[in-house]
């Protein structure tokens, strides 16, 4: 049985791995198959949407697991119960996510057409910094030194790994940093929100979220592309759309994108946005062997790759920064049980009040020696003290607080 923590890190890591696969394919595709970024993005998203729909149909096939009726998609996301049309608040957020994703997708393909994956991967990761700021605003929490340290280590490491000798075009950097990462940050916030709200008591699952956000992304993207598509480009799309090689290429490419987004969205439901993004940065490490593989398979496409030893040393130093940052993040976590006794005249909603204290992930009213048992998850023990003293003590009716830091724990399904 995989522990919750391991599941969270595994999801984010796998998402990162799949991102590097599709970025590598895009860089090949844009140089060797379809050189026009507008035509490329149009083909990519439409073929991606069709195949994503087919994947979902396949994943909706009912099966029986341990005597319970499920879908095949249960293995990808336990909350998945077949294709469903989003409604109400969910629909608003999915529309918003589709809109910002379409803008960031266009900027991604335009920037990609005149740069390479070694430059794109770190630029894509810049949103981690934005999300770090958003996370701290959302949680009304002062970041712990270890969090800032690790996330900076990962992000700066990522920049080092992808240093290349090529000329960096300032215009590309600015639009990717501001427009692409800005839109991606908003997309991530919307996806996080979508994980938190539920329609008719049912949680939104990552497979439906991916499909519907891709659906709206493709619609918005197509509308935005209209002014850029002249007669020759439309003819090109008509010709390429029915080419089996192109279709197969985008099916695989968007298959990786599908998996990476599903895992990304699931991970977002389990932890802080900035930490998910920091872990996704692992793909930059993978970028090195993948780029070398690209050189082996298609030397004419990947001719820019340098063999400078100095550059490779810097890349390795960057890799170490990334690994150390992620390890530090995952290891620096403290959990504690908090046992509480309250006075008999306490307010009735004390359970909810305790639950609202940041860092509290679980609270139970119990009959026995104590009145409440809560579980706290936090970065450092120092913070634990602050939370207990400042916030729980402030709740009216609390008589006694006992905290028991957890040294090690096991969970069973």
């Amino acid at each position: 049985m995989v522990s919750k923590k391991a599941e969270f890190y595994l999801l984010a890591l796998l998402s990162g791995v799949f991102v590097s696969f599709y970025v590598l394919m895009d860089s090949y595709g844009l140089k060797a198959l379809v050189t026009d970024p507008y035509v490329y993005s149009f083909l990519c998203e439409w073929i991606g949407l069709i195949t994503c729909f087919l994947y979902l149909l396949f994943l909706s096939i009912p099966i029986t697991i341990n005597g319970k009726k499920r879908c095949v998609g249960f293995y990808l996301d336990p909350y998945f119960q077949g294709l469903k049309i989003p409604r109400g608040k969910s629909l608003q957020y999915i529309l918003g996510a589709g809109l910002v994703a379409s803008i960031s997708t266009i900027t991604y393909f335009i920037a990609m057409s005149f740069s390479d994956p070694s430059m794109m991967l770190p630029l894509m990761r810049f949103s981690t910094i934005y999300l770090l700021i958003v996370d701290f605003i959302r949680e009304k929490d002062v970041p712990s030194a270890i969090e800032i340290e690790s996330i900076l280590s990962v992000t700066l490491g990522a920049f080092l790994v992808t240093l290349s000798k090529g000329e960096i075009d300032l215009y590309t950097v600015i639009i990717t940093l501001v427009v692409m990462n800005g839109c991606f940050t908003i997309y991530t916030i919307f996806m996080k929100k979508l994980q938190e709200i539920s329609e008719n008591g049912k949680k939104n699952d990552s497979l439906n979220l991916r499909f519907w956000s891709l659906f709206f992304l493709t619609l918005f993207l197509s509308v935005m592309l209209i002014p850029f598509l002249d007669k020759t480009k439309i003819e090109m799309i008509q010709k390429l759309f029915f080419s089996p090689i192109i279709f197969l290429f985008f099916t695989i490419n968007m298959g990786f994108a599908f998996l990476s987004y599903v895992m990304y969205i699931r991970a977002l439901g389990k932890g802080k946005m900035s930490i998910v993004n920091a872990i996704v940065s692992i793909n930059i490490i993978l970028g090195i062997p993948l780029t070398l593989l690209g050189v082996k398979l298609a030397p004419h496409v990947f001719e820019y790759v340098s063999y400078d030893v100095f550059l490779w040393i810097i890349k390795i130093v960057g890799t170490i920064f990334v690994i150390v940052g992620i390890l530090a993040l995952s290891l620096s976590e403290v959990k504690a049980y908090i046992l509480l006794r309250v006075s008999s005249k306490h307010a009735s909603n004390i359970l909810e009040k305790i639950f609202r204290v940041r860092g509290i992930e679980y609270v139970a009213a119990v009959a026995g020696d104590y009145d409440y048992v809560a579980k706290l998850r936090i970065r450092t023990l120092g913070k634990t003290y602050n939370i207990i003293v400042r916030e729980i003590e402030k709740i009216e009716g609390i008589l006694q607080i006992m905290s028991l830091p957890i040294v090690k724990e096991w969970e069973y399904p």
């Binding site: 969270f8 439901g269 504690a336 359970l351 119990v366 009959a367 830091p405 096991w410 969970e411």
Partner: protein, 84 residues
């Protein structure tokens, strides 16, 4: 029929907590075990079908584990959990 969940706080004798822990992990009704520092040594969460089963588990199993000094059982009445 709803299940009954409870937390059992265990104080173990010095030097025997590892043994207690291993014995507890063999128990079917145990949902989670945590080693903690402070007034208690081990916190176990159990899930049973009825109070009779809880009595059986505590009196006839947990209390008989060599090294268990004292237990405190707290039955969960209501809980709030953060998803994920």
């Amino acid at each position: 029929m709803d299940k009954i969940d409870a937390y059992i706080f265990i104080e173990a004798e010095i030097g025997k907590s590892e043994h207690v822990l291993n014995e507890l992990r063999k128990l079917d009704i145990v949902k989670s075990v945590a080693f903690v520092t402070g007034m208690f040594d081990i916190i176990v969460r159990v899930s049973v079908n009825n109070l009779e089963e809880l009595y059986e588990a505590t009196v006839n199993y947990i209390h008989k584990i060599d090294g268990v000094k004292r237990t405190r059982t707290n039955i969960i009445e209501k809980e709030l959990k953060q998803e994920g």
